[in-house]
Subunit: 216 residues, 4 copies
């Protein structure tokens, strides 16, 4: 890797730019395609049909926040990188594979919420496993970037520290939720919701915001 230091930085940065653009594209599409699965559910009055589709709204919200959290994490990771290398691009591709697969388990969960426990179990486990794989691939990307010197060393940034700790917590939470999913799938779906909210809400920043407000 020593002679890689001579690599013109412009070219390397371009590679990073396109990786970000492609990733933003895949994530944006995966997150926006979710709406195609929303539909009113007969029978009943219009309002009744609209409200009867609540499982689809729940699944939509969980999946949207989960992909949103993945985007935020991806953003946080590559923001600290100076360049990418061939292996990192492939890890990123696997990461995108897992994320772009998510609309399918989302549909499973949406349909499962009004079907038998067996369906709920299937939906809960497949959704959880997909999120766990996303999480593990992301960890692999972060580890590889750090080991390969692709990331410049400002890891004392508290926002980064919070994100790092959160994602380790999330991985454990997904494993536990999947295990729960085999027994009481509904609880694990609620857990995915909680994890997604936990990942997206920047507690430190919100805290700072509240503090700033009260001391102003």
């Amino acid at each position: 890797m020593v002679d890689e230091g001579r690599r013109p930085l412009a070219g390397a940065t371009l590679g990073k730019d396109r990786m970000e653009a492609f990733s933003d594209g895949v994530l944006a599409i995966a997150i926006t395609l979710l709406v195609l699965d929303l539909a009113v559910r007969p029978p009943g009055s219009p309002l009744h049909q609209f409200l009867r589709a609540w499982p689809a709204y729940v699944a939509y919200l969980v999946a949207f926040l989960s992909i949103g959290a993945a985007w935020l994490a991806h953003n946080g990771l590559t923001d600290r990188m100076d360049r990418v290398d061939p292996l990192f691009l492939r890890l990123n591709l696997l990461f995108l594979l897992a994320v772009s697969f998510l609309p399918f388990p989302t549909r499973l969960v949406a349909e499962a919420l009004e079907r038998s426990t067996d369906w709920k179990r299937l939906g809960a486990v497949v959704f959880g496993l997909t999120m766990l794989v996303i999480r593990l691939l992301f960890a692999a990307m972060g580890r590889y970037a750090r080991r390969g010197g692709l990331r410049h060393p400002r890891e004392d940034d508290p926002d980064y520290q919070e994100a790092h700790k959160k994602f380790r917590g999330a991985a454990i939470a997904y494993v536990v939720s999947i295990a729960i999913g085999f027994v009481v799938p509904l609880v694990s779906i609620l857990a995915y919701f909680a994890i997604a909210i936990f990942l997206v809400v920047p507690f430190r920043a919100v805290w700072g915001e509240l503090f700033r407000k009260s001391s102003a």
Copy 2:
């Protein structure tokens, strides 16, 4: 690389670039997915079937202009920002959640236009509420950016002033239209159309353009 000591800002700008790229992606997809709901409506001659689909065209146009107005406003907001911070990224994510949800109420409106008043009421209210939420989240983003010093102070720009005033007007107009929607839903759907056109047409610029033309 010597002046990389200024990096914090560069990094922050990168974050802004990706936020814009991701937002552009989600908005572009939401606006383009709308076409999937267009289809001729049997029975009748080809031309008759094509024209009978007018509710879908109206809904398509209203939604396209509404998302277009949201993009223009987003553009106007971030254009004046130097950087983003974790909280702003999350507010933006919620904003995108509301925008990417819009194709669903659009479908409701399209289908409602040829169904009972109950359906029209549902479509009109859900569409209006979604637009109002988009509007309020956008206001929250603007307020947060201003308070947090993320925006640089060129707010005397008359184009910006016009956009600002318009969006406050739009929020009120949406509240009124939703209220009307409970009683005469068709009127409120027409109102959404009018609001979208009002938001998209840059009256000041058009006026300037006409004036320049006549004085040339």
Copy 3:
């Protein structure tokens, strides 16, 4: 427009960048969504069903090349622009509205090719009118950019000159094809194919390429 010259160029360029990113997004999605309408057509052997879907392939190809030509033209126009202004952004939005509508007439044409003449007439006329509107909006954007001083003056570029002449020719060709579409719709669909190819093939560059090759 004189005091607009004091406008920081960075901000103006950002606005242009996002307009391009958003336009690229909408055009890329519109061009890629076309594939969703491809499907084999029973009955018959697999190969027979595959080949029986030829109308969908023809419509796919015509629409892909037409949107591709629109992207190339958009690229050629904004490449010469230093900045954008509020009115230009709105014209661009209307342009995108027309382009993102195109998958619907494309579906009409694909279905019409194996239905009655009335269906072919509808498909041919609606597709042609959409292309004509795209063409006229594009002309309006070009004219506005030139009049408003948004474009810097290198219009002696022969590639630009060729594109300009081609697009004026295309507008006339679309008008003629639409008129033909009322009488013999199949001919006008073939004409759209020919126009799209005519717009996409860069005759001057191909000529130069062939010449360079033979003189090398």
Copy 4:
């Protein structure tokens, strides 16, 4: 703005940027649309229905990796280019046409895997031909870029060399696989899987990584 006299190059670079952005968009959408074809297959228990959809998963994986490989290759090609020209933009458009067509053969393969040999043959041959066309168009782009001086000469880069050799190998492998597809289509579908993995895995980098690890 003083050194804007060099503008021709800046303009050309802009053209390259937009070509990359548009290509990233089309590739990202094509790769993400694949998920729309995933669905459980009745009858049976939930798990049974989920597993019965394995042909769709295989096709999804093969297509995702194949488009991913195309993106990596495109990235590698344009990364070394200083500018684009009109002909290159058109070649790129044809390349995108072939890539954005791929979801259709992918669906054919997914459906064929549980149907008669005739269907498998059709799926295998159409998928293989599409991949071969993508491959040949990509070779044409590379050759044109080299001949036209659009690419700057750092072809001694071993990563590039590996990519180049791999893609020549892939073209031959696709021709052989298509021929096999006429006789034993299932084998050729497995071959497409193997080729995609072969294209995506960066053997040289993995090797270097393993070597570095063991010598650290």
